[in-house]
């Protein structure tokens, strides 16, 4: 692997006798935007949590490039922040845990990047869904990631919130050149926001190709056959 940030080889996971993810190979390169899609229970979240290091793979191995090791950001589907801490306190805490030399300064930078200045002193538990998701994303940026993994980041958002989030995320990716891999239930979102689409069904990788090469009929046929 010369330029891949991450390489997964034969990674798989079982929950008891249930095969959540069949052995799968995957490479993610710098600046790549990858969408993982497929029906419920396809194995999208399982794959992302293994790539993020939340859960170890049941079998297989994941290797990171030197640039990516320790610099993988994780955005869980439901916001994972402390509701009784303010936006700034949450960011300071996670920046500190990521080893930032100046957690306060890092938090202020993240607040500016996520456009959270107006709510910086507000408790996370009092934020609107869209703003809370922006905080959820900002926390993942505390470790200066080279690869950002997002589990259905827009799943709970209204159309306008979804649009604003993608505009902000596009800006971040363009500025930092980081790679992103996100899961989504929407083929439109996958085609519009990614340059590579992975389709999963019943824990198996059904498709791995450039965005826009898979029409609705082919997608449905693929998923139904799985």
């Amino acid at each position: 692997m010369h330029d891949a940030l991450l390489r997964a080889t034969g990674i798989a996971r079982h929950y008891g006798s249930f095969e959540a993810l069949a052995p799968l190979d995957l490479e993610i390169r710098p600046g790549e935007r990858i969408a993982l899609t497929g029906p419920n229970g396809a194995g999208k979240t399982t794959l992302l949590t293994m790539l993020a290091g939340v859960h170890p793979p049941g079998s297989g191995a994941i290797t990171w490039s030197d640039a990516a090791r320790g610099h993988v950001g994780w955005v869980p589907q439901r916001p994972a922040v402390y509701p009784r801490l303010s936006v700034r306190e949450n960011l300071m805490l996670f920046a500190g845990l990521e080893g930032a030399a100046d957690p306060g300064g890092t938090a202020d930078q993240l607040i500016a990047r996520a456009d959270l200045q107006e709510v910086a002193a507000r408790r996370a538990g009092a934020l609107s869904t869209g703003t809370l998701q922006r905080l959820n994303l900002a926390v993942a940026l505390a470790g200066s990631p080279r690869l950002l993994l997002l589990d259905e980041p827009t799943g709970t958002l209204s159309p306008d919130q979804r649009m604003r989030l993608w505009q902000w995320l596009d800006g971040l990716v363009a500025a930092d050149g980081m790679a992103i891999a996100f899961s989504t239930q929407s083929m439109e979102e996958a085609a519009a926001r990614a340059d590579r689409v992975l389709v999963l069904g019943r824990g198996r990788l059904l498709h791995d190709g450039p965005a826009g090469t898979l029409d609705d009929a082919a997608f449905l046929a693929m998923v139904e056959d799985a």
Partner: protein, 450 residues
């Protein structure tokens, strides 16, 4: 990122969250403290007067006994016992029913012939006490109360008897009318005997029978010797009546009595509940806030999380323990000392209960479940820990560290020298903390990575 720095960051976060969660703080610390204070008051009420059924089978005799200047009846006897217990006068069947129903704690029976035995002085009269075997602790308390009452009555009777004996001594010395132990008559007395002998000797010598008069001298010497010895017997008899006297003086007013058991119980329940509930809530809240998936990606290991929260729970327990001890020292008659030695005892008790709570928190899915489960497990175990002298209760409550904590606290409160058992109790607390800490770490690790 070192584990120490990560732990300190989480510690500051937890403190900040706790300060902002007033209702939770009230539940986690206020509730156990209130329970502890109520328990201390309840346990200190152990010296309340028990109700005892009084069955007088000697009532029909209507007899009384003269002791000195006093004439005693069974009712006088009962009245004296009422200093120690509340007596309810019942017939034998009623008393038996009342004991079985738990309306009275014991039945005290005066058998037939009691007064006759007391009067004769030939054999000691016997009172019969029946207690409820289902309430062994209360039965012991009543036995102690009635033993104390009987002892004081015996002492009063002994004093009266000695006074009678001393009266008799005076009669033997000076002569007079006898009326003691049912006997009556007139005594000449040593002094008059001596006087009579001297008159007889004088008469004999006047009649020229000096030899015969001299032969009466040893008899007069004997009378004088007996009189002198009887004089010596008076203080000895008084000493026998009350060989040891207790000088009771009232202490300074305004302080409530509180037993060591009450204080130890309050500390065990207070610290136990604070430790279990606080630790369980703190850990389950991490899960409820869904941050474990973030923390578990190498930011903070499960061991660090467990150690940090156990330490926070132990510090909170120590603070609560010192506050309770301070309240005891300021408002009661109990002298709390060994303030420094309380530090490891309270810290270890807090660590043990905190580690137990962490295991509950690691296994529960949400904070409410963790709190409820923690309370349901901890409260009965803490109460069991207060049963004195029961090894099964001790080891059952030791499951959460409460039994060893109770013994350690009582040892620090009452033992004149700090016994090895007190240090052993602290050792057991450390082992309990370690075992539950490791179990909680394993459970949390599975939660974070499964």
């Amino acid at each position: 990122m070192s584990a120490l720095r990560a732990g300190s960051l989480l510690m500051r976060k937890d403190l900040r969250v706790l300060v902002r969660s007033r209702a939770l703080l009230a539940v986690l610390i206020g509730y156990p403290v209130v329970i502890a204070i109520l328990l201390a008051i309840a346990l200190s009420g152990g010296d309340r007067r028990p109700t005892v059924a009084f069955v007088n089978l000697d009532a029909a005799s209507g007899r009384t006994v003269q002791v000195g200047d006093e004439r005693l009846s069974i009712e006088d006897y009962a009245t004296r016992l009422e200093d120690d217990v509340d007596l309810v006068r019942l017939d034998p069947a009623q008393a038996q029913d009342a004991l079985a129903d738990g309306r009275v704690s014991a039945v005290l029976t005066v058998p037939r012939g009691f007064i006759a035995d007391l009067q004769s002085g030939l054999k000691p009269p016997v009172l019969q006490l029946a207690t409820n075997p289902r309430s062994p602790i209360e039965a012991q308390a009543i036995e102690r109360n009635l033993e104390s009452g009987v002892f004081r009555l015996n002492q009063a009777l002994a004093s009266a008897y000695v006074a009678q004996v001393l009266n008799l001594v005076d009669l033997i010395q000076d002569g007079g009318t006898v009326g003691i132990f049912g006997r009556a008559g007139t005594l000449l007395g040593l002094a008059q005997s001596d006087r009579a002998l001297r008159q007889v000797q004088a008469q004999l010598r006047a009649d020229g029978r000096g030899g015969l008069a001299d032969r009466l001298d040893p008899l007069r010497d004997y009378i004088t010797g007996v009189g002198d010895n009887l004089e010596l017997a008076k203080p000895a008899a008084q000493a026998i009546a009350s060989p040891i006297r207790l000088d009771i003086r009232e202490g300074a007013p305004g302080r409530e009595p509180l037993s060591a058991l009450g204080i130890a119980g309050a500390l065990v329940v207070g610290i136990g509940l604070v430790g279990v509930l606080l630790a369980a809530a703190l850990l389950s809240a991490e899960r409820e806030d869904r941050v474990l998936s973030r923390l578990g990606r190498g930011l903070v290991g499960p061991g660090t999380i467990i150690a940090q929260k156990a330490l926070l729970a132990a510090v909170a327990c120590t603070a609560v323990g010192y506050v309770l001890l301070g309240v005891v020292a300021l408002t009661t008659s109990v002298a709390v000392g060994r303030w420094l030695l309380w530090l490891p005892a309270l810290l270890l008790a807090g660590l043990a209960s905190g580690a137990f709570g962490l295991l509950v928190g690691a296994l529960a899915r949400e904070t409410r479940t963790a709190l409820l489960a923690g309370l349901m497990i901890a409260l009965p175990l803490a109460v069991i820990a207060l049963i004195p002298g029961n090894d099964i209760a001790y080891w059952a409550s030791a499951l959460a560290g409460f039994g060893p904590a109770a013994r350690t606290f009582q040892g620090l409160l009452v033992d004149p020298e700090v016994a090895s058992s007190t240090y052993a109790g602290m050792g057991i607390l450390a082992v309990v903390a370690l075992v539950y800490g490791v179990a909680a770490r394993v459970a949390l690790g599975r939660r974070m990575h499964s």
